[in-house]
Structure formats: C-alpha cells, structure tokens
Symmetry: D2
Subunit: 365 residues, 4 copies
Amino acid sequence: MSARIRVAVLGATGAVGQRFVQRLHRHPWFEIAALTASDRSEGKPYAQAVSWVIEGEIPAEVASLTLVSTDPAAVQQVAPDVRIVFSALPNEIASEAEPAFARAGMTVFSNASYYRMAPDVPLVIPEVNPEHLRLLEYQRQARGWSGGIVCNTNCTVSGPAMVLRPLQDQFGVRRVFAFSMQAASGAGYPGVSSLDLIDNIIPFIKNEEEKLEAEARKLLGRFDGQRIAEAALDLSAHCNRVPVLDGHMVALSVETERPITPEDAARVLRDFRCSQVAELPTAPAQPIVVRDEPNRPQPRRDRMSGEGMSVVVGRVRPEPLFGEHGVKMMTLAHNTIRGAAGGSILNAELALKMGLVTDISFNLF
Amino acid sequence: MSARIRVAVLGATGAVGQRFVQRLHRHPWFEIAALTASDRSEGKPYAQAVSWVIEGEIPAEVASLTLVSTDPAAVQQVAPDVRIVFSALPNEIASEAEPAFARAGMTVFSNASYYRMAPDVPLVIPEVNPEHLRLLEYQRQARGWSGGIVCNTNCTVSGPAMVLRPLQDQFGVRRVFAFSMQAASGAGYPGVSSLDLIDNIIPFIKNEEEKLEAEARKLLGRFDGQRIAEAALDLSAHCNRVPVLDGHMVALSVETERPITPEDAARVLRDFRCSQVAELPTAPAQPIVVRDEPNRPQPRRDRMSGEGMSVVVGRVRPEPLFGEHGVKMMTLAHNTIRGAAGGSILNAELALKMGLVTDISFNLF
Amino acid sequence: MSARIRVAVLGATGAVGQRFVQRLHRHPWFEIAALTASDRSEGKPYAQAVSWVIEGEIPAEVASLTLVSTDPAAVQQVAPDVRIVFSALPNEIASEAEPAFARAGMTVFSNASYYRMAPDVPLVIPEVNPEHLRLLEYQRQARGWSGGIVCNTNCTVSGPAMVLRPLQDQFGVRRVFAFSMQAASGAGYPGVSSLDLIDNIIPFIKNEEEKLEAEARKLLGRFDGQRIAEAALDLSAHCNRVPVLDGHMVALSVETERPITPEDAARVLRDFRCSQVAELPTAPAQPIVVRDEPNRPQPRRDRMSGEGMSVVVGRVRPEPLFGEHGVKMMTLAHNTIRGAAGGSILNAELALKMGLVTDISFNLF
Amino acid sequence: MSARIRVAVLGATGAVGQRFVQRLHRHPWFEIAALTASDRSEGKPYAQAVSWVIEGEIPAEVASLTLVSTDPAAVQQVAPDVRIVFSALPNEIASEAEPAFARAGMTVFSNASYYRMAPDVPLVIPEVNPEHLRLLEYQRQARGWSGGIVCNTNCTVSGPAMVLRPLQDQFGVRRVFAFSMQAASGAGYPGVSSLDLIDNIIPFIKNEEEKLEAEARKLLGRFDGQRIAEAALDLSAHCNRVPVLDGHMVALSVETERPITPEDAARVLRDFRCSQVAELPTAPAQPIVVRDEPNRPQPRRDRMSGEGMSVVVGRVRPEPLFGEHGVKMMTLAHNTIRGAAGGSILNAELALKMGLVTDISFNLF
C-alpha cells in the first residue's frame, strides 16, 4: 500500500475531535481528508475555528483544511473516496448524523454514546471483544446500509473492561465493585468549571454509573453471529470527578468464580495479549501494564504508558471480603486516548484488518 | 462553674496541634494553660516557633505562651492544675510520652495512632461508642495510672463509623466496601509534595487501609465492662490521596443483615442522635447531615457543616450487588476537625460529663 | 431604627448575586425584600433556581423567596418600599436595566462595569474616595432621575487603589507597575474551565488591563462638585488568571513624587483610616493590614482578613529602579467580597450615612 | 566519531539529576558512564535508590547502574575516561565537590548556584553569551585546574535573559521590571508542600529576586578575555510560586535606549539566532518562539516548545509608562529543561564545539 486511506473526522473542533486530529496526523494508514463542524464554523479554516486545548500544536497540514458541514454530501463533495469516518459528535447530533453517513456507504467509528447499546451496533475494545466487530455484517443487512456504525466505549469503562477480560477468561468474574476518580477532560471543553474542581471533588457524573454497568456487560458478552448475549457479570459503580487533567482511575474489588490470588491475577493481566490486535499500528506492545511499586498507577505519571493506549494496573492485592475468590486493584486508562479517539482509531484499524470496511480490501500486512 | 478548665496541648506546633489551639481558643469549658513542642522550640513564644498553616490568625492570648518540653514535669511546672492533655504528638514520641502523662495523673486525649488498638485503651467517637469511655476505669486499674489515655480514630474512619453506627443498630451491617479520597492535610505539614498532588492522585497511603478496617471493628464493638469485643463487621478499603485541602470523602457500599431501602437508610441517618453527646458544647446539632442534591457532598462546599463536626452524606441509593440488603452512598468528614482535633476535644467533653477525668468532678450542666 | 431597610438584588442567581445574598443576610441595616433573575428563572423559589457555588448554605429566609424579573415594576410589585438595589447584572443587561431602576426612584449600587467610566456616575471605594458619592446629586439633576447609579470598581483595582490612596496623599504617586494574579472566581460561574486552570495560567483577561488603568485614575481623581478630574497617575498593568479560588494578588512597583522608604510606606499604610467610613457596619477595623512575614500575603491564608474587607499588604521593600522615590510590595484583596458584593454594600452604607439615598433619611447612628 | 562521549551525573537521584538522566539518554553525543549520590544511596542500583518523579520511565540502560559516591576518585574508578560531568548537586555539597572534580581534570557543567557569580566562572546561556565560555581558559590558569566549572543560570532568569539579548543588541536595554510566576518543580522534590500550593500562591522565594537581578547583569555583560564586565542593565524582580508543575512565566516591562515598537520587538525576537549554537544537537530550531494569540504563552500548553528548549513569548505590546522607549510582554521557559538540565547539556555541547573540554578534541561536525 503506497497511499494512505483518506478519512473524515465529524465534530473536529471539540476536545475529542482535536484528539482525533492529533492522533490521525502521522498515522501510518490514515490521512485526514475532511473535517466537519457545526454550521457556525463551516467554511472556516480549521485553525481559525478551533480553540486548540490539547498539548502541542495543530498539525500544519490540517490547520488550513476548510471545515465542511456534518453531512455526508458535504464530505463526499470534498473527499468522494472517504469510506472511514471518525465521529466526535455530541449525542444529539450523532443520533441522526451517524446513520446518514452509514447509509451513504461510510463506516462510522464513533465516540458518541447514542448507539452504544443498540443491539445491532458493535461496542468494541479491540483487545477485549474483537469478534463483536462482525456484528457490522448483521447491522448492514438488517438496516440496509452499505456503511455502518461501530462504537467505542465510555471512557471510564475502558480500563476495567480490559482488566476484566482476562480475569473472566481465567477465573470467571462474578461481581465487581468499581470506584472511579475521573479526569476533567472526560467532560469535554470547557466542561467542568474551575470553581468546581479546585480544592474539590464532584461525586456525581450524570448517567455515568449506568453506562459503566451496562457497557461492561455488553463488552464482555458473547456474540453468536447475530446478537450479543450480555455477560452475567454484576458491576456496581461509584463515579467521581477529580482535579486531574487526563486519566481515569478506577479501583476494582473483583469476585471470581474460581479461586484467585494476587500473583495469579497479576500474571494473567501481564500476559494478556490479543493476537488479532497485536500487529495493528496503534496497538500498545502491552495492553495491560502491571506495576509493582506500592503507589502506582498515578494519573499524571502513568497515563501515557504505551503512548496512552496501555491500561496500567497496580496494587493487585487480596480482597478480604471475597476470601479466596477475590482480588482488588487500581486501574488507569487515558480517557481521551484509549477511552476516546485512540480507541476508535484502533477499532478502525481492526475493522480494516478483518475486511469489514466497505470498499477497502487491500492487503495491509 | 465560673473558671474554665486549664488544659495542655502536646505537640502544639504541627498541623494537628494548630487545630487544637484554634478550637480550644474560645472553648466554653477549656483554656490553654500549656503548650509543648520538641526541644528545638522549647523556650520560644508559640507565635515564633510555629509555622501557622491553617486559616485565620494565631489567637492572641496563645501567641505569647512559652513552649515547654513534652514532659509531665515541665507542664506541671507552668500549670500544676492541668488534668486534661490533648496530644498531637507523632507516634514515635507519643509511645513514651503519653503513658508518662497518664502516670502523672493527666488524662490524655490523643490524636496519635500508637495506642488506638491497645485492648485497654478506649478508641472513641462520642456519638458512636460513648460507653467505651468507661474502659478508662479498667485501664487505670490495670496499669496503675491515675490519669489515662483516650484515643480518637484515624481521620478516615470517622465518617464511615458515624454512618455505620445507626445502620448497624437498625439493620445489622455485614460487609462494607469503602473507597476513600483523602485530603492533603491528612498527611500533616509539609506532608505531601505539590509535585505529587497537582494534576495527580496517589492511590496509596501507608497502613491506612489496615487502620480503617481494624478501627471500624473496634469502634463498633461491644464493651463488657472490661474489654471491647470487636464487631463482626467486615470492611475492605481502597485509600487514595487527592488534590483537596481538607475533607475526606469515603464512598460506601454496605450490605446489611436485614432488608434496607435508600429511604430507610436516609431517614435513619438523618434521625441519628446520641443523647449523652447532644448537650456537649462542640457537638453538632446534627451528627449526620443527609443531602438530597444529586452531586453532594463536595469537600470544599460541605466540610464545614456543623462547624466541621457533622458528617455529610449524599447519594444514598440502592447497591445493586447486595439486592434488598444493600445501599451505597458518599460520606464526607472534615479530617482535621471531626477526624482529629475536634474529635479529641469532644471526647474530653464527654469524659468530663461522664465523670471520668481524674480530680475534676464539678457539675458542668 | 427598629426595622431594617428593605433592598433588592438584581441578578441574584449568579456568583456575585450569591455573594450579595450571603452578605446581606444578617446585615444589621439591610433585609432582602426582592431577588431578580432572568426570565428563565422567574417565578421559581430562589433555592430551586440557583446553583449555589459559594461556601455555606443558602440563608433559610431567602431560600423560598420567589424570583421576579429584572424590571422595576416587578420589584415594586412585591416590595414597593425598596429604594436600594444591588446589581449583579451582566453588562449587556445592566446597560438598560440599571437606568430603568434609577428612573423609578431606586439607587442602584452596581457591580457591573457598564457605567463605571460614565462622567456623572460615581465610581467609589468608600475609604478611597468617599466624597465622589456626591456626584450622585449632579447625576440626578443631569439625568432627571429620582434614584441613581453608583458603581463599585473592577475587582482587581480595589487592592491597589486602597494602597495608592495614602501613598498619593503622603508622597505623591507618579508611576505604578502592577502585575496581577487573579482568582478564578473573578470570571464568575462557570467562568474559567478547569482545563484552563489546572497546572496552568492564562496570561490574559479581556479588557482587564485597560479597566485597571482607567479606573485607578478616576478613583484617585479630584471631585469639584460636578465632575471628577482624573488623577495624573500613570499605571501599567499585566493581568493573569491563576489557579486560585478567591483573592486577587497584585504586585506593585510604585514611583513617588517625594522620597519614600519601605518603613515610611508600611507605616502610612498601616495607619490609613477613613473617618467617614469607620463606623459603617461592614467596614473593616483596619482597611489595610500590613504583614511583616517574608512570605505573606497569600490568597488562601489572608483573603478573609477583616471578613474579606481588608486589603492585605506584605513584602514592602525598596524598588531599586526608582531609587529613593520607590517602593515595591504585594497586595491582596478578596475579589468577590471587597472587590464586588462587599464593596457595593459598603457603598450603600456610606450613601445612607451621607443622606444620599432618596427617601431614606433617618438617623442611623 | 563512532562512539559517544562518556559522562557522569553528580547528584543523580534528585529532581534535576533525574532530568539530566532523562535528557542524556539517547543524546547523540553523550552516554552516561557514572552516576553519583549521597552516601546513603551509594552502592545501590539507580532504579532502587531513586524516587522517579518526572514523566515517563527510568531509561532501562541506566536503571541498573550502581551509584557511586560524589567523589572524583570514585567516578574515575568506574569510568576513568570521563571528562564531562553534569552537576545537580545542592549548593552545600557543590561548593567543595565541584572544585574537586575540576582539579581532577573534569569539566563540570553545573546547575548549582554556588559558583555562578564567581568572577572566573562562566555563567552561560549558549544563545545569549557563548563567548563567555572562554573564561574557562582563564579559570584553569588562575586556579591551576586541568578541568573547570561552567555554570548555567537560575531557572527563572533563562527566559528573560534570552529575550533581553536581542533587545539589548538592537535597542539597548535600560530598565526592566520582571514579575515571575514560578512552577513548583523549581523548588525540587519534595520542595513545596501541597498545602502551600493548592488554592494558593507564595509571593516569596528565598534569594530568588537577588539572583535574578545579579545573574542578568553577568549574562548580558561583556567578556574582555579575562573577566566579565557586568551589563549596566537595571532589573527589578517580583518572584512568586504558583500552582503549576513546570514552566516559569516572567512578565517583563522593558525600557530601551532607542525607540521601539511591539512590531519591532516581535520581529527581532523571532529572528534571533546564534550561529555558534544552531548546529548543536539539543539547540532548538527557534530559540525564541513569538506567539500572536492574545492568551499565550501558557505554561502547560507551551512549555514543551522546542522540546522544552525554546523560550516562548507572547502579548508583545506597548509599555505606556516608557512611551516610545518601552514594550511589555510575557515570557515562558521550561524551568527544569531550558532552565536547568537542558541548559547545562547545551553548555557542554557548546564547550565541545569550541574545543574547551580538556582532552576531547575530535571533530564533531
């Protein structure tokens, strides 16, 4: 493959949109061909319309791209060959826009939550449930779309789900108590007021606990070729917003079907690999990094592990309340990389490898 | 009673010592007669030796008090009538100094952790286990002391223990998952480096989880006149240090013996009173304040409830993993007031009322 | 005077409006009779419409007040006797609403900036330029109003202006370099995003430097009975937003007409009093508190000096670049108390004392 | 040159020592051959002795290096060929240790302040005063050393000095008012307590203003082959510690000899280059980056410009108090990179290029 695959980013001026732009820049397979924004910004160069809030600069080759409206025809006019679309749209726009793009033959890799729990939409973390991606085939048939919609997960569930996958496979997971300390960037920009987060914590994030509980069951569910049978896993969450910029910490107390020790758990987490994902360009060498120091992971010092794509685990220890059937630990995932833009891009890479993107079927490897 | 009772503060220059000074100032019953410090500061006026780190100013009548060494004879030399001593000593000094004061006839109300788990030392939160104070009588007899030692609890356990008391009484408490987000001031001054707490969280506090689990069992235990039978309660803790100045947040998932609903729990918490404590001068009107807003308690906005002595609870909701036998909630207690100096002062008020302070037996009410 | 004077607060749900409510509660002279808000909140009880962001609780007697629209007739309907109105309105609404209230016979003590530089509107800090209040008489005559408008200053200028008053009187002030570090609350709520203020500084606040420079000249100007002749003072400002909740710090390098030493300056600042203001109920005992410690003032530890109404000064030292004619120092003022609601309330107290509030002429003293 | 030059880091476990290790790792010219620490850590592997506080991991090839004592003989025993030594020692140790290494034939590139103002020690920022490095030759002769000492500057002066260099050359600089907002990392680790920096500012850093004023005069002074004639420049500083992790902001009001406009200033700053430095491996492509946005530079978003080696300038505007002879602006430099380890490494690169490192005289280019 000599040329890169041209893609579009929907809702490119928001915080997640910016992350998409940053991570697609210099991506070995992808190249940004179109950026969309709300009508207010349409027609402006990207650099002029965006209030760039993430570290580093706007990539030079994107800065002068003219924003088009979030409409399949508008994207096709400037980039008729686009088949992969990344969506950073807010839910209220995603609900109509994403199906429109799917109908127009594009496969939408979405960060919005609107379609995550739809029975025919795959909700995927590549290392956790790669086979769910094949639900796309059923979705296309059922909806009569030539494109499709693939969702990534809520930013908070990405760390726990990655950890629960190998634990479930090896020990069976029965119950999980999850307690989150979530970064400000999870609420977008401007998001949370500084008056709410200096010397303070907000012990509530709307709908977050419900999403975490529901998405974990779908992610760890079984795909029978047509639908996802949710996992029997019971998860209960306490979600909090804390004065941290990036990186969601989630403490877990896990009860397993079969006996488990902290040493077992650490080994299984460390050894966890997903062969289908290993060769993808933005997959981290180690999906789960287990640290032995007593006081890690820490959001600022560990969130960039694996360039923001590794989940970092520490303090793996016995869970006394579950006896021989329990462990507890701390997990960390970068919420705007692994838990948002980076997760969607990895989904697109996997879909390409599995031959699931309409009209693109060359040999990438 | 026309005159106030003269007291001493041991270790008066540290962060907790300062809180003692601040809260004893203008106390209706007590008056500071002596302050002790390490040898380095002995002989200096308090205002000169202290690096005052809490809000407001050093009370004028204390500023010029000359610091004496942490030694019963030194205290008795400047204030022979002192029978009540508040200890803000570090553990390594408390271990020898507190018994020395007890032997010399003074009752030490300590914030140190050294003697908390000693079988003959009462570990008391007045509203939770006032009757444990009577263990002092056994202690005096067993050790041959005319004074004694009374401990307050670890700052993190004070909120959960207050909440668990009425829940245990009404519903029986079987298991508790506790997740803390603890303020920087809990580590004293200078304590935690700013480089560890700006845009960061430390998911570990040495020995904290162990203390929380052990102290809860002792606090909620039964006193048979001679010893404390620990409660059967199983508690598992995850402790974290977060970028907040004051106020420890602890999320709880509680499993009860008998069925419970969030409405039941909220009512029982709201109605909780301890008659023996109600009339004490620094007891809050409402030991537990239950808030109905979805996003409270918050440390900065709620920590001063009841002048820092109330525990604030919010988000009382079902705990799905415990079915009809569970609730979850967020709790907040001011760690350097209710969880430290304020707690010890309330212990001393209660001991006075119960006639348990050697040589002081007038009628306060 | 047995009964308190009934007042209204315009724009009562915003951050400054909340401060007005908090400080008028238990005010010895004033009593809240009406609260206004935008149409969206009209008709709702205050407690339901407001997102209370400051410490403590909504005062109980205000919580159930029904919000009325920001319109003189609406206020007069619920409280026909109101003659004093405090305005926390945003500029775009203040521009029309404040004159409407003035026309209707009410004297508006405004925190908005819209009319601050109008030639016939007094811009007043009571201790700095109390005599400017008499411009109200000219304003009423010129505009044909029975009420009027009195402005407080920009929150950032309140500290420097207080300090420059006695320095100008004693030494003459020629030039001032001012560098501010301003708290998040200065931008209102939600105001500055947490993503802009965690581990960051914004070295720019729109129009702030211009306001600071212009208002200082008006505040320190001379009133000839009809107009304010601006002071010749040259001031240059660098304004920054920093991660602090409350309290604006402004470093000053001051060049004086006559020779000055740090000792002179400190003495003059410490001794500064304004006899007309001294007896007002919310005037601080000491308008300027000078601290000798090398590392004060600090926003968190000093902003509540004089219950938030004192300006705190420290590090008074030579300014080498101005030789014998210079000093430099750090100043601190609480931006939402002295620099906003508290300043306006003190203006109203002064106006009452000077007999400048229409229809209210009893003897307060 | 096929092999890299072997170097040592003195005081490698502290915060600046860690930065040296991080930046020397993968340096094209240098290779770490020895690390020293206090006696307490001697003999331990680096990874075990260090409490790594900066982002990322300890470089693998350094993690297992055994720490030796801070003594020339100890270093020569493990690495006899070392001629370049980077010092991150605290002053009280640097005062004796650095001359010992110089005597033993090693050239010390020091971050300590002890020798900065010594008349025969070059204090160098490569782009600002590269020719001062030749003072090494005089130093060696005067002290009889075969090695030598070269100092980098105080972290706060690095930004202003870089900016003042081209302004002085083009317009002559007469007076400068400097106002700093300095990051927590400038105080080392643990450094400033979190209780001093959450919701707070410390308006004082010991000796910092004096250093800033003195070092600026030496840096911009003229070298006559034997000594540095200090620049006539008058600089007055206000220094503050703010809740930011890395990146010192310094606002400047500059008075020039000849007329200046903001456009002139911005152009001159943008065009500033130092030919001797341009080809050095860690020299930034642009020593001074001038930004046009109204609200930049910001520490978190701009400190990594030029991989932490560029000084970022913004808000270049007229300084009204200096009329046609003044400009004001904001500057930012990364204090632990450009202002510490990175600055010393660039000094060493320059010294090599100028043939000033004893015993190393190959052709690097």
